[in-house]
């Protein structure tokens, strides 16, 4: 299969290892990975800020970039939800509506793509650690991805998954919310960090590097010994 990657802007710049791991995993499975270099952002920051006109301009660019893609995979529940769920609303009544729906239909969140589209769960990864998993809200409630990452983690050799308390509760990142209402975002983050630390895990794993950027930022500020990894990084570990 020819798989086009849609890499979130913060992964491109701050967490490239997550995207590199996605490439490694997909190539290992024997697929041809493409990275259309004209891609930019999905437009979610503008969309969530109410600037739908500008969000549409950005989204139109994405529609063009991925027009000919066979299938699009993104290592993010949040950007995945933007393309799969919110593009439909953004382009409702616009000439590009059909195209937006088509892109949504062929776009997959990474873990869901592995389990539901490719039908694989064991990638042969080895990762000796106790980990906990953080569900990003968009992946969980917009894309209904809950079991897929756990299915994948269950097959990683040496890995022990410990669920945190109140695992469905938001970490407080919320995109621009994190800086528009930093006090609420941080209060929510504190509760999430405590729940993560209580698991005594070595790592917190997620489908969303954006949530992890917020959580890792809080851990580092508090000098708490917690490290975060994208699911793809775990799945790529131990692969030659």
């Amino acid at each position: 299969m020819k798989i086009s990657l849609f890499i979130p802007c913060y992964i491109e710049q701050c967490f490239p290892r997550a995207a590199i791991s996605v490439v490694k995993v997909l190539e290992r499975l024997g697929h041809q990975v493409l990275y259309p270099t004209a891609q930019t952002c999905c437009g979610q920051p503008a969309f969530n800020s109410g600037a739908w006109k500008q969000a549409r301009e950005i989204a139109r660019h994405a529609l063009t970039v991925f027009r000919d893609a066979e299938v699009v995979v993104t290592p993010s529940g949040s950007c995945g939800a933007m393309v799969k769920v919110f593009y439909r609303e953004l382009f409702h009544g616009e000439p590009e509506y059909q195209e937006a729906c088509a892109l949504g239909d062929k776009t997959w969140e990474f873990s869901s793509f592995l389990v539901n589209k490719l039908g694989v769960s064991d990638l042969g990864a080895t990762f000796q650690a106790r980990v906990t998993f953080h569900d990003g809200c968009h992946g969980l409630r917009e894309l209904h991805v809950r079991t897929e990452p756990r299915t994948l983690l269950a097959k990683v050799r040496g890995l022990e998954l410990v669920e945190m308390a109140a695992r469905d509760t938001c970490c407080g990142f919320g995109g621009t919310f994190a800086v528009k209402f930093p006090m609420i975002s941080s209060a929510m983050g504190e509760a999430k960090c405590s729940a993560i630390l209580e698991t005594k895990a070595d790592y917190v794993i997620s489908l969303d590097s954006s949530c992890l950027m917020h959580l890792q930022g809080m851990f580092d500020q508090q000098r708490a010994p917690m490290r975060s990894l994208h699911l793809a990084e775990v799945l790529a570990s131990g692969l030659s």
């Binding site: 490239p16 800020s49 500008q54 609303e89 809200c137 409630r141 919320g174 941080s186």
Partner: protein, 465 residues
Amino acid sequence: MSRPSQSFTAGATELCQDLDHRQRIQTAMGNYEIKRDENKARFLNWGEARAAAAAVKDEAVNHLDKYLTQFAERLAARGTTVHWARDAREAREIIANIAREASVRRIIKSKSMTTEEIHLNEHLAEQGYDVFESDLGEFIVQLRHEPPYHLVFPSMHLTRHQISDTFAEKLGSARVTEPEELTLIARRVMREKFCQADMGISGVNFGIAETGMISVTENEGNARLTTALPRVHVALMGIEKILPRLDDLALFWPMLATAGAGQPMTCYNSLFAGPRQAGEPDGPEQFHVVLLDNGRTAMLADAEQRDSLRCIRCGACLNVCPVFRNVGGHTYGTVYGGPIGSVITPHLRGLQEWTHLSFASSLCGACTEVCPVKIDLAHHLLRNRRNAVGQKPPLLENLIWSGFACAMRHPWIYRVGARLARLLQPWHNLVKGSALDPFRAWTRTRATPKIAGQTFSDWWERHRA
């Protein structure tokens, strides 16, 4: 920034640092969640029950003209006076007139958020009436001159010790610590008020069009006394509270109890179909139902957000909302707090002035997930943001997003931007956390992520080569 927005920010800043408050609310809501889930499991299929409830409410709301007329006719047929109020002012005047014409002096109330919405107590007090809240939680916040903290649990923010202090200060009672003792103090005061009141005001949980009845849900029995003892009973009802059939209650009674309070059923569910009829020994001489619009028909006209009128005011969305749990009920500055309040208040009280509440959300969607009538709450927050920005784009932000969109349409700007950010990041470290830091909203509580020496695109070029 609107005044409500400033006061929200100030309140949120204070409450988010109040760890006692956070702990108290988390504990209460944690207990509620356990009970709620136990009782959800008693439904054969909670998901289907939600879909059915949403369909019934849609039927009612989409045919309001038919069902409201039917409701009013059937009520009138048994001697009830039905009033129609376009807005809060009209509703207040109607109720004050009823009181005046019936020579009422003392008024007792059972719990009603709709009366809060029209600020009825203040108005009646100004007219010289003695207005007394008989729901225990409402009674406590009334003594403290506070608005209800939560749609269903008005005084959940208070500890038993705070309540004891309030009683001691306002009622002169001895300081006690057991909830039962506190309840007895309130009961002693209330019994007297029930006997003295000549008018009782209640809300309405459901109005049954088929039979011309109102249904009132409660746990304390105070609504039964409020509606039975005084000579006049006035019920204030938002027009969206209509249900087509009596049978619909078989779904809505347990659903409201489960979603609202984690109970299988509330202790009392009472149906009222009119004043005392000929030959009946008791009941009020007069029964008035005041039907309130107050912005509801405007919401009905909004096809996108019409489903907000399905709301049964159970408070389930507040209970799960991580924003509500941190900022608390009073910070919103609205009658209806939490997600449903953030959705409807801009419609009821002004888009520009109240849209900050729609922005004060991480869009986690927990509200949408629990809503028993499946209101698309989290997405409505996005739509409110779009409506507000579309109507009046904030100057600076609009510029920022236009610049951002321009960069994102031109991949080379996006790439150059990334390199520029990498070059500038070491300079940011010099001001990080200080007043000069442009990112202090982030850096006050969070370390900044390091921009990678090699972006993914850089890696990809080498990987492909």
